[in-house]
């Protein structure tokens, strides 16, 4: 009797909410590229930037992080449309539309920037696990093992769901923030209303530029467009792809804010140079929070490494005409996987070289990235405005106004950031 009642209740519930349930089921099928790319955007370098921002300015720049969500969404949403309409990755789209000069420039620059960024992800991961006394060589072996396991299945779906599991791990910063008991009144008072703590100083500009620089990286554009194509998304899936990207943008901003809450509460006023340093310092007063920060840093580096290495492999596969889908097994797409393994193994080995100039590499990445980012963004806007390529999915006037403003802002600030890295005394 009780069983009948519960079945009856369940069927009535399903009948009432069947549309919502169907929509949720459909979203879960489409979800992936947007969420993964946005969460992987909070990579090892990103976590360091947010941790240092919180330690330097407390909660004062939370409003700025909130603004970065729409910025990331507007850029990445264009890659969803371009991928779904053309069925080509960004590298191939550049070759086809702008010819070999810009094509080779983008491909070679992308592979260099991605490889250097991959090294910085390994630096973050080895630093995170060294907090637990795990030697770098073991960390590198573990990471390469995980990354190999994720792709050898020969199924995009498996890779995507495993990547989404690592995305969930990124949420460790939320309980960490609750454990340090930040003052809600203070957050609302100092963090929500736009303000420039201490006036517009050289340090503040540097931090704003660093935060913008971590919001959009060249690999993100290439990665999401290729992932949309590999997943087989078509024009009808564009609204879901957009929703996926919006949720990813919200997710990434939430995580960034919670990192700022942690370091802004406990490490406020300290000069933090890396997320690993923040984690080690935190161990003294909040061991569990320090542990969560270290786990989060490792996860962030791993997610970044997974996406960055794939972005390069997809790009080379598209241009060279190799089989380049995660739905292919290794023997079906040997060059695609060879490039993927080559990139991760060599990047991992660099970190193990004694006295390797890792700090120099980290700084160099920021400079090299600005040689590619403007080109990738400008090509994106030009392609999205081409009626022959995009048809009814081309940018509207409002979309152009917003995206061109964002692109000009990103190019200006990231270029200034690179200059400030090259010439440290530039802003006083």
């Amino acid at each position: 009797m009780g069983g009948d009642l519960s079945v009856n209740y369940l069927s009535r519930f399903y009948y009432q909410y069947r549309r919502v349930i169907k929509a949720l089921q459909l979203y879960l099928l489409i979800a992936g590229p947007g969420l993964i790319v946005m969460i992987a955007d909070n990579d090892a370098g990103g976590i360091t930037t947010y941790a240092a921002t919180g330690a330097k300015f407390g909660y004062a720049l939370i409003w700025f992080l909130v603004l970065l969500g729409p910025v990331a969404y507007y850029v990445q949403e264009m890659t969803v449309r371009l991928g779904a309409v053309t069925k080509h990755g960004h590298a191939e789209a550049i070759f086809a539309a702008f010819g070999p000069f810009w094509g080779w420039f983008s491909l070679i620059d992308l592979s260099l920037v991605n490889w250097l960024t991959l090294i910085t992800e390994f630096i973050g991961m080895t630093a995170a696990l060294s907090i637990f006394n795990i030697p770098p060589v073991i960390t590198v072996v573990i990471v390469i093992g995980i990354m190999m396991f994720m792709v050898v299945q020969g199924r995009y779906w498996t890779w995507e769901k495993l990547a989404m599991f690592f995305c969930l791990l990124n949420l460790v910063y939320i309980p960490a923030a609750f454990m340090v008991h930040p003052d809600v009144g203070s957050i609302l008072q100092k963090g929500i209303i736009p303000n420039f703590p201490g006036g517009i100083t050289a340090t503040l500009i540097f931090f704003l530029m660093a935060n913008i620089g971590t919001t959009i990286a060249p690999w993100m554009i290439f990665f999401q467009q290729s992932a949309v194509v590999d997943k087989g998304m078509g024009k009808k899936d564009i609204p879901w792809g957009k929703l996926d990207t919006i949720l990813g943008a919200v997710f990434t901003v939430v995580v960034a804010i919670f990192i700022v809450l942690v370091t802004g509460t406990v490490l406020y006023g300290m000069d933090i140079q890396s997320a690993a340093q923040a984690s080690t310092t935190m161990m003294g007063s909040y061991p569990l929070v320090g542990t969560l920060l270290a786990i989060g840093l490792f996860d962030a580096g791993l997610l970044g490494a997974i996406c960055i290495s794939l972005a390069s492999s997809w790009a080379f596969g598209e241009v060279f005409g190799w089989a380049h889908s995660l739905n292919n097994r290794i023997r079906e797409a040997p060059w695609f996987y060879a490039y993927y393994f080559f990139a991760i193994i060599t990047a991992g080995l660099v970190v193990l070289i004694p006295h390797a100039p890792l700090v120099l590499i980290t700084l160099f990445v920021q400079v090299i990235a600005v040689t590619l980012l403007p080109a990738a963004l400008v090509f994106l806007i030009l392609l999205l405005n081409n009626e022959e390529i995009m048809g009814e999915y081309r940018n509207t006037t409002i979309q152009n106004l917003v995206s061109i403003t964002i692109v000009i802002g990103i190019i200006s600030l990231s270029t200034l950031y690179a200059f400030s890295v090259l010439f440290p005394g530039m802003f006083g």
Binding site: F95, A96, P374, A375, N386
Partner: protein, 74 residues
């Protein structure tokens, strides 16, 4: 007349690497040919954007060269 047949088994490693290089260089040529004609319509907006990008990259490279020069001089 005896027909000349290359002895593949005894081919030197130099020969093999030459063939490997030739095969891959031809791939580059093939890609260049395939994408030789840009598909995008060269409207004034596209031309200005591409010119702006070229200038931006040239300036950036000059700055990097200057930085490198100052580092070496020190």
């Amino acid at each position: 007349m005896e027909k000349f047949e290359p002895d593949i088994k005894s081919e030197s490693s130099e020969g093999r690497s030459d063939r490997f290089l030739a095969r891959h260089l031809s791939k580059f040529t093939e890609i260049n040919k395939k994408y030789a004609k840009p598909h995008i319509r060269m409207t004034p907006m596209v031309r200005i954007a591409l010119l702006g990008l070229r200038i931006y990259l040239i300036v950036l490279v000059l700055v990097l060269v200057y930085k490198f020069y100052t580092l070496i001089r020190v």
